[in-house]
Subunit: 191 residues, 6 copies
């Protein structure tokens, strides 16, 4: 990890890092995040999901499209051609989790595409549920995995001692599954 | 609060709610969110903020521009003409908080513009800091205040009993300032 | 009907017609169109529609978003704030029909928003089905109804003697329902 | 031809197909479509075409620009870098035909770019002529040719037995030129 | 004229000025600019203009579309609904001049829409001529007139003593017509 | 230099030049331009630059983002993936100069990306200063250097005899530094 911000030049001015010397390689990034809501609102989404699936279907489309326009949203992000975007959801008792996986062949990574796709999918769920629940919270949006590129593979560990507040963000409720995807699908409704 | 999702019709199909019968009125929404990072990364941003401010200056522009293109990102969101967007930051020890305030005169509220502006500003900080810190987490993105429109004023309460996980998200550390803006500006560096 | 093209000035140069003197009024436009495909492909979509509905759910989102960005696509089209967009589908034996209804309060009509929404929804169905059927044809995209504005209400008649080719476009098969929406919903699967 | 829709995963959820394993090759697609209108409106466009050409010049620009933003309009369409877009028109007695040819070097085909370019060019003609003729119909938008890629060359046949309605769409008037471009240019006004 | 920059708050942070308290009124802005080029290149454009007009027709469309997306390009610019955009050209011996007029009814002016439209039309001419002439210069892009709004009417004077370099920008050739549109149309080819 | 415009086909119709046969190579373009303003306004920007730098920080972001969306603004411009965008400023007594450098690896040059980035950065400065100074002029926007590609390296000479008006645009004031960057940085404030 660098101890300086590569998006600032030595005088502190914003810049796009030059990626032209880098060889195109296969790269993947996985991001996850959650929107917390009341049990009643979660149930409304879940029922829709079972019947026609439109809240999550709309959020899936929004996440895919946002991943494609990441460079238009994040000023210093390089444009690239995403080769694949997958958006999946898990429904808990009082939250919906999104996981976005982005693949590309290119000279730069796709973390921001995955993060932007996840954030936008969560904002879309928020938008569609806000008439029912104004106190929703979007949380725990983070990079889960990154492969390809010079810096090699990164996988998020479950605990991160360096970030004090993070321990607050991750509840220590015994039933909490973190981002564990081995949850009983009957209970959590993978969609 | 409604017990159904107005973005779905009675058959569960996605739709834009019709706002044409609504009179234009002045509306405001305030959203907040945080990106958690190591103390080292926070310090890098803070130092930049004192010198040239480019990380936060770029994130501010990104937040403003994203608020303007909300309807392009969130599928069922109505287009509207934002009249004002303010983006401010607070720097903590291991987090940066953004607050986005959006005003408009129109037939529909600006919650999504504020939420989208806040999310995009946080993603931009994430992008500019990820070479230094890959384990950052975007969290606690939520609507803080909403005024105008038929449903009247909404202000988020500090505790929300209905959302179990939220109590987990809000740490009960005594020093935690929540979104309290009365923080000592010397200590937290309002920017 | 005018016998000149208002988007050209007297010297034949393209221009946006000035709408600033016009009062905002409530306006609506309805457009319809079809994509013709093999019975096998239609069945694949219909099965999806019954199970999870994703082809049509994606096409619905695409139609809504395209209606919102009409002025970005059609060069001389005025920007306006759509107040509502509805996208519905009917499934026939060898076609899927889309109907897009757009409402606004503004100084100019929303025909192009409805037409653009319909075309884009059909293109999206085409995209999602092209691995199964390359010979699909998008057809009969037309304005069905227009209300509001100085020129009053327009409703398309079933036969239009002025357009010779149109009689070719509308098959005289007895079972053909045109755009008649009184079709037996059991048979045609309104979605 | 596949008997499943590759844009849906086995559970029926929308997805972008992963193109990262595919080698970039040269690819081309040609799409055509028509807008039918009264003879009077056609003549207005044709006169303009002779004098300054602005209706078709604007439609040509709109078609090119739409081809470039296809991935922003069609949710599951991959972004790619179009290398060339050509937009040509033929004027008949009561219709204008557009032909859009798109070339690229990339891992995925450009059918959707050609189809989207053709649709948008036709919508633009519709927009510029609608003050004169509200009953116009956009029709017969279809893929005419596709080369490159693993699935090899595809050329549309003049008759397609599999699509019943298509025989209705294609008039059996003896003079009908289909999309034959060998028409007498004096008569049909290739532009 | 203010002696501070209203787009910065008292702490020097960028902001969108709040326009929600302002009443919508009719507003107009006119901007002009030139691209200087060799006499040979100018003649190529002029010949095209006489025959089919495509360089200027494309530049006109580009100027209109850019005016519509000004708020997407200029970060602190308010979104507004342009009611009319006119783009005209004059051809000199070694330059092409563009004039863009934008009208709206709204709470804020359209200077930036006119300026952005003019700049983009000039960039488009540059793009289409650069294979013939790489030394072209875009110059003298400025606001010519502004009406409506609280600050009243502004019209640029031919000489502006306050801007020293401007006297350099405006050549003192006797034949120079400035932006005078009474030029002999035979000589300068108004298009 | 060609004596025809490659963006027009032999019949004078606009087209995108086909770049698919060209090999990707490393390419760079540098464009510069100025906005002239009163000494008072220049001082306001310069003071801001010293304190927080927000006018130029916002203009830098706008220039970078515009470079990324060049193909969306300039109709016949090919989409490409910019690999790096640098935006720098110099402050004179009565002007601010921008220099934009764009790098890519691709089959076509990045002149238009550099020119569009420079124009948009200047428009953004104009927007942020217009409350203080309405008579600002954007001038001397031109390509300064171009490397890579079949046509080899191009560097602008200080004097260009072929463009008559250019001698007018370049003042012969002895103090004028043209685009010379060897200016005393104390005096001109490179940022």
């Amino acid at each position: 990890m660098s101890n300086r911000l590569t998006h600032l030049d030595p005088l502190g001015r914003a810049r796009m890092v030059d990626v032209t010397p880098k060889e195109p390689t296969h790269r993947r990034a996985v991001a996850r995040g959650r929107v917390h809501m009341t049990a009643e609102t979660t149930a409304l989404v879940a029922r829709g999901a079972i019947a026609k699936g439109d809240v999550l279907a709309v959020a899936r489309v929004a996440g895919i499209q946002a991943a494609k326009k990441t460079a238009d949203l994040i000023p210093l992000c390089h444009p690239l051609l995403v080769g694949s975007v997958l958006v999946n959801f898990q429904i808990g008792d009082t939250w919906i989790e999104v996981e976005v996986t982005v693949d590309t062949v290119g000279p730069t990574g796709v973390e921001m595409e995955a993060m932007t796709g996840a954030s936008t999918a969560l904002l879309t769920i928020y938008d569609m549920c806000k008439s029912s629940d104004r106190a929703m919270v979007i949380s725990e949006v983070t990079l889960w995995e990154k492969t390809g590129g010079r810096s090699g593979t990164y996988r998020r560990e479950d605990t991160n001692e360096d970030i004090d507040d993070l321990t607050a963000v991750v509840p220590d409720d015994d039933d909490y599954d973190g981002f564990d995807r081995t949850l009983d699908p009957e209970a959590s409704g993978e969609l």
